[in-house]
Amino acid sequence: MFDLTGKCALITGASGGIGGAIAKALHAAGATVGLSGTREAPLQALAEELGERAFVLPCNLSDAEAVAALPKQAAEAMGAVDILVNNAGITRDNLFMRMSDEEWQSVIDVNLTATFKLCKGVLRGMMKARWGRIVNISSIVGATGNPGQGNYAAAKAGMVGMSKSLAYEVATRGITVNAVAPGFIETAMTDKLNDDQKAAIMGQIPAGRMGTPEEIAAAVLYLSSPEAAYVTGTTLHVNGGMAML
């Protein structure tokens, strides 16, 4: 089950905890992976760890030209882009009353606009192939909101609406577009929380623990697989029961 042999997957934010786990899971299922991210060193390290079928494709998603070029670079390196995982994301948290236009815009640009452009950039190849998988990594806060994250929550909710709209348009072409919405996951992003914050979060998670990057990767692997052909426009919530949506 979930055999991705012969498929080529582009993963953004592959230098991070969740992105790296996604890349490993898709690679383990047989896919060729294009590892994109801003920091080249961890991408190289991951590529070396994976060995064959791994390409490093550095890209700063806040650079519009670099975003426009990435789908083409990925297709040239791997031969195609059959699977796109928009996982990269940034946070610029601030209280709504204090949030600057720059904090708002930078999060929208990287988390939402770059996702739009990358989806658009890979569609031509997927339409011709009559097969494609797009998985956009949203967040629980896109559904529930979160104080201090007006920008991030807006971008993550925006990804869901965008995914559904695109899913409608390309469903007849064998292309599925879905979102995965992680809850609190053990990554560098959540390591920054202090003990009190962590304890407060744990109290809200029925599972009583944070999730692992591998648990997100498993959801992405499923949605990327041939077996998930009839699943489109959905959001798979992976959050330990924190929000049952």
């Binding site: 339409m127 348009e169 007849t172 072409r173």
Partner: protein, 77 residues
């Protein structure tokens, strides 16, 4: 150059699965040949590849009929 209409017709016939004689000068892809809006996007993509040209989005929107397509491609190539 003179074979442009034939090459365009071949793409339309293959892509939309219609009879060749239905693809007349004034045949609208959507109204007469059963295309949906995404089909028209794919037709434009196919024209771009067949003729090695770039069809910008605003121009693509004006290509509604077989005749429109032939005219645009003749001018562009």
């Amino acid at each position: 150059m003179s074979d442009i209409p034939d090459r365009v017709r071949k793409i339309v016939v293959e892509h939309l699965g219609v009879e060749e004689d239905k693809v007349t000068e004034s045949a609208s892809f959507i109204d007469d040949l059963g295309a949906d809006s995404l089909d028209t996007v794919e037709l434009v993509m196919a024209f771009e590849e067949e003729f090695g040209i770039e069809i910008p989005d605003d121009a693509a929107e004006t290509i509604q009929t077989f005749g429109d397509a032939v005219k645009f491609i003749k001018e562009a190539s």
